[in-house]
């Protein structure tokens, strides 16, 4: 009886969650069919994996911005930590695990662990701050990560791993291989990231975030967002929960970074700069803070849009900006929202 009541009460929310899963699965099937029947152009096919990675980034940042309510401007930093640690792992494992999907999975897990660690270390000073100050410090840490990776050298030889900072002083034995070459990044990456892998990662990210949000931790995140003082007065450990959300978000960003990087043959730290952080934030804001499906759709649209506008050559970024402004205005318009909600197939049941 109680369990059924619990389900009933949560029905509206559960429906939104299942709708999100359903749309993601449907979109995956359609894209998969279209790409196998050569209906998609090759440029579009090449964008499937980056789109998945950006979607995971949007979900991951939404956990911090939408659920925890703290603005983070350095999310690309965690993506790059994941990208570099993931790709390095994949290269190191090349000889041991010939089966690419397993190598990819291990690389993504390692990437998540490294990014989570980076998130933890950065979280210690950052989460003592509030609001704008927190945002600016995350921005700074994003740039710090970029600078560190731009000056990081990692090589492997028969004696094991060697690394150095600023210049290549790894002194590898003959037969050794330099994996990360500072500003040159990593080159010669095997493109083992696939669209199905991206889809699975997105589903896992959604499952983690949705299940976390509907648990005591998620309630604590949202309580801290809504009223910090009240949250403290009912005995919530603010620092612990902020850290939990931040680290989880960083871990997801890390595995998205690994997926993203293994879709290209070369990856450099400058790819994950402030612009990327802002782009991910735009996905979240455009899709609606705390709205996972919105962020996912925004990520897809804003990744495809610049490509589709390529034919307008020099007016491309101008058009992109105009479309962005129009979309922002439209999604905040009450009448348009009303119109969109009319398209929702569950709407009548919810009202009843």
């Amino acid at each position: 009886m109680t369990m059924r009541r619990l389900i009933n009460l949560k029905r509206a929310e559960a429906r939104r969650i299942y709708l999100t899963y359903a749309i993601v699965i449907a979109a995956y099937i359609i894209c998969q069919v279209m790409s196998s029947t050569k209906f998609l152009s090759s440029s579009m096919r090449g964008m499937l994996v980056p789109i998945c990675a950006y979607m995971v980034m949007a979900v991951s940042l939404n956990l911090v911005v939408g659920i925890l309510g703290e603005l983070s401007l350095g999310h690309a930093g965690f993506m790059s930590v994941g990208a570099f640690s993931g790709v390095a792992t994949a290269i190191l494992l090349q000889g041991f695990i010939p089966f690419a999907p397993v190598r990819l999975a291990i690389a993504m897990i390692v990437a998540a662990v490294f990014a989570a660690f980076a998130g933890f270390v950065i979280g210690i000073p950052v989460l003592r701050l509030k609001g704008d100050y927190l945002a600016i410090v995350t921005l700074a840490f994003g740039e710090i990560i970029k600078s560190i990776l731009n000056n990081f050298y990692l090589g492997v030889d028969s004696q094991g791993l060697h690394f150095s900072m600023l210049s290549d002083t790894t002194r590898l034995l003959p037969g050794g291989k330099l994996i990360i070459r500072g500003p040159m990044g990593i080159s010669g990456i095997q493109k083992i990231a696939t669209f199905p892998a991206g889809f699975i990662l997105l589903m896992i990210a959604l499952m983690i975030v949705f299940n976390l949000v509907n648990s005591r931790s998620g309630r604590a995140f949202m309580a801290i967002r809504d009223d910090r003082i009240a949250a403290e007065s009912i005995g919530l450990d603010i620092t612990k929960y902020k850290m939990m959300a931040f680290v989880m978000s960083a871990a997801l960003a890390g595995s998205a970074g690994a997926l993203f990087a293994m879709n290209y043959s070369t990856i450099v730290a400058n790819k994950f700069d402030f612009n990327t952080s802002i782009l991910i934030l735009v996905f979240v804001v455009l899709g609606g803070q705390g709205n996972m499906l919105g962020g996912i759709i925004a990520a897809a649209v804003l990744t495809i849009l610049p490509e589709k506008l390529r034919s307008f050559s020099e007016y491309r970024m101008l058009l992109y900006a105009i479309v962005l402004i129009v979309m922002m205005l439209a999604t905040n318009n009450a009448e348009i929202k009303e119109f969109l909600s009319r398209l929702n197939p569950f709407r009548h049941k919810e009202e009843a």
């Binding site: 109680t2 369990m3 009541r5 619990l6 009460l9 509206a12 499952m207 983690i208 299940n211 976390l212 509907n214 648990s215 005591r216 931790s217 998620g218 309630r219 604590a220 949202m222 309580a223 967002r225 809504d226 009223d227 003082i229 009240a230 949250a231 403290e232 007065s233 009912i234 005995g235 919530l236 450990d237 603010i238 939990m244 989880m248």
Partner: protein, 279 residues
């Protein structure tokens, strides 16, 4: 609902020797004081509250009533004095630890988690009695389901005290004003306090709502057998339900006693109405 009485040694910072924590008053403030920006906002505040007492804290605006609450809940750390909670020194605790030790409060300007549903507001307050971890939550393991169902049941039961179970699913921010105040009390009760601090619970309520609130406070007091301190400007409410009243003015206690004593106390009348002009 309450833990069993037992002897506990009191930390050395306390000024009292080992004593019976079970029979000790729930709250003892000894020479409590705080200086805020050079002003002694509260000074020499001594108050003892029994296990199941309802105490009113009254005084003109700016007398330091809410500051006392902020001291008790460690929003401010006192500059002088000791707070003993169930015989235990709260020195060095923060807001969260004081809540765990048994103080829950409501706020003068309502502080609900506005975007959470009513029931989630209550369940959030039960966070510390749930044990499942993040992994069980993500994988929806059996202990997650068990604890969530138990919490849900208890939250509904608590809401039903105030006849709010029908609103369980509505966002807390959308409730009418009176219901928001009631929800704040439910949320505070969900943390299993031994002392409940109510900061102007009747503010902005009409007389019939105030009467309902009075009944509700009595009901809570009877059901949970806890001590309550309430700050209130509505004298009929205070005089009706409080067993003891403490009057503050300019950060000092000017009178303590039963409602009858307070009503006839010249110092209190002076604080509220001003000094009578000598003819």
């Amino acid at each position: 609902m309450r833990s069993k009485t037992k002897y506990v040694p009191v930390p050395s910072k306390s000024i009292l020797p080992e004593r019976d924590a079970g029979r000790a008053p729930v709250l003892e403030c000894i020479k409590l004081g705080i200086t805020l920006g050079g002003i002694k906002a509260v000074e020499d505040f001594n108050l003892t509250v029994g296990r199941t007492e309802i105490v009113g804290l009254i005084g003109p605006n700016g007398a330091g009533k809410t500051t006392v609450f902020n001291l008790l809940t460690k929003v401010y750390q006192p500059t002088t004095g000791t707070i003993l909670l169930n015989g235990q020194d709260t020195h060095g605790m923060d807001t969260r630890q004081v809540n765990k030790a048994g103080i829950a409060r409501t706020f003068q300007n309502i502080r609900l988690f506005r975007n959470l549903s009513v029931i989630d507001n209550v369940k959030t307050a039960m966070n510390n009695e749930m044990n499942y971890n993040m992994v069980s939550a993500i994988l929806r393991l059996p202990n997650y389901r068990r604890e969530e169902v138990a919490a849900h049941r208890r939250a509904l039961k608590l809401l039903s005290i105030f006849d709010m179970q029908s609103m369980a699913d509505a966002p807390a921010g959308s409730l009418p004003y009176g219901a928001q105040r009631r929800l704040e009390i439910v949320r505070a009760l969900a943390t299993n306090p031994s002392l409940l601090l109510l900061d102007e619970p009747a503010a902005g309520m009409n007389p019939s709502e105030t009467a309902d609130l009075m009944d509700n406070i009595r009901k809570v007091h009877e059901m949970f057998q806890i001590a309550i301190i309430l700050i209130e400007h509505d004298m009929s409410l205070v005089m009706n339900i409080c067993e003891g009243i403490c009057v503050l003015n300019f950060g000092h206690i000017i009178a303590k006693g039963t409602p009858d004593e307070i009503q006839n106390n010249p110092a209190v009348i002076e604080a509220y109405l001003g000094r009578k002009k000598e003819a």
